[in-house]
């Protein structure tokens, strides 16, 4: 994989690379949209089992169309993985075992709710940290401003007539 270096001398070529990558991403997205969002037909007669298959499948990401669950995706891999989930449940394995099976092969990335651990900590607490930073900054700025004397502010519009510079 070529990587963009932050201080590349050939910035136009870089820009084309970026546009090219965007194009590829778009093509992928379109290819995924091509498979309409209707859920695939159940493949067994047991509605209770199918419901469990769909419940687990809804928690698992399809690696071919990455923003779809394997319940919604029509990619062949998703069909195969649903079949795998169905068979494991039919063999009496529980949901945790199915999830473990998938993560052993495809990693935490297949989980729409990845477990909290060192690698995913930023993912989980990142948004909270950003909000805290924002609120903290707002608080500090407001407090500083409230301590400033009136002269530090520009007059409001309605005070414009009383502004000595204008009269």
């Amino acid at each position: 994989m070529t990587r963009l270096s932050p201080c590349s001398s050939n910035s136009i070529a870089d820009m084309f690379k970026i546009i090219f990558r965007l194009g590829i991403s778009l093509a992928w997205a379109l290819a995924c949209v091509g498979a309409f969002a209707a859920e695939a037909l159940p493949a067994s007669d047991d509605p209770a089992l199918e419901a469990r298959v769909m419940k687990i499948s809804n928690e698992l990401r399809c690696l071919v169309c990455q923003n779809e669950t394997i319940a919604a995706s029509h990619a062949e891999l998703a069909v195969d993985l649903r079949r795998q989930v169905r068979e494991m449940l039919q063999n009496g394995q529980n949901e945790q075992q199915v999830v473990d099976y998938m993560t052993a092969r495809y990693g935490d990335f297949v989980l729409y709710r990845p477990p909290f651990k060192a690698l995913t900590a930023l993912l989980w607490i990142g948004p909270a940290v950003m909000v805290a930073l924002g609120l903290g900054t707002l608080f500090v700025v407001l407090r500083r401003r409230s301590r400033l004397a009136d002269e530090a502010f520009e007059p409001d519009d309605k005070d414009a007539s009383s502004d000595p510079h204008l009269s």
């Binding site: 963009l4 970026i18 990558r21 990455q66 062949e76 195969d80 993985l81 052993a104 092969r105 990693g107």
Partner: protein, 176 residues
């Protein structure tokens, strides 16, 4: 000194731009495999050319080998193929093929048309062994060591750069 504070938003913007740019250069299709450093999954599959013969994981013990996942319906495999053939001629490592979710006749024709770089291809008709290997985007290539441990996985077509900069040094290390 007073102007320094105006640099703060500028700095934040630059940091954001840096991350945006870094994000663009990452390939979201490349998901790191949890199988690296783990024993290759067990399999026993029929050979593509001689279905009555089977090849299993344990037949590979004691040699460093490469498993290339391919299919006749896979466009990127065709793109990768000449490189694979060229690399197989140098015989630095035995290359085996995993014919993934493919018809036997189509797979055989593909090899006849484009050449066969593989010592042997095994036929994963329903894709189960593929799932065990965490395959999601053909072609994929695995480097497996003497003890049967997966040491490297390439998602998508091999390139001369990957072979030269990553796989060759790894092979040297594994064979020494």
């Amino acid at each position: 000194m007073k102007h320094v504070r105006y640099l703060v938003p500028m700095g934040i913007l630059l940091v954001l731009l840096y991350f945006l740019r870094a994000g663009l250069s990452l390939n979201p299709k490349e998901v790191p495999s949890p199988l690296i450093g783990k024993p290759a999954p067990e399999f026993s599959l029929p050979r593509l050319d001689q279905p009555e013969q089977r090849i299993s994981r344990d037949d590979m013990r004691g040699q460093v080998w490469m498993l290339n996942v391919w299919a006749s319906w896979c466009v990127a495999c065709r793109q990768e193929h000449p490189l694979l053939i060229q690399y197989a001629k140098q015989s630095k490592v035995p290359i085996y093929g995993l014919n993934y979710k493919d018809e036997r006749a189509a797979g055989m024709k593909w090899l006849a048309d484009f050449g066969n770089p593989y010592i042997a291809s095994i036929s994963d008709r329903d894709g189960r062994v593929g799932i065990d290997f965490g395959v999601y985007g053909v072609p994929e290539t695995f480097v497996i060591d003497r003890e049967g441990v997966i040491r490297y996985k390439q998602i998508g077509p091999l390139t001369p750069e990957v072979l030269r900069d990553t796989i060759e040094p790894l092979l040297k290390q594994l064979n020494s």
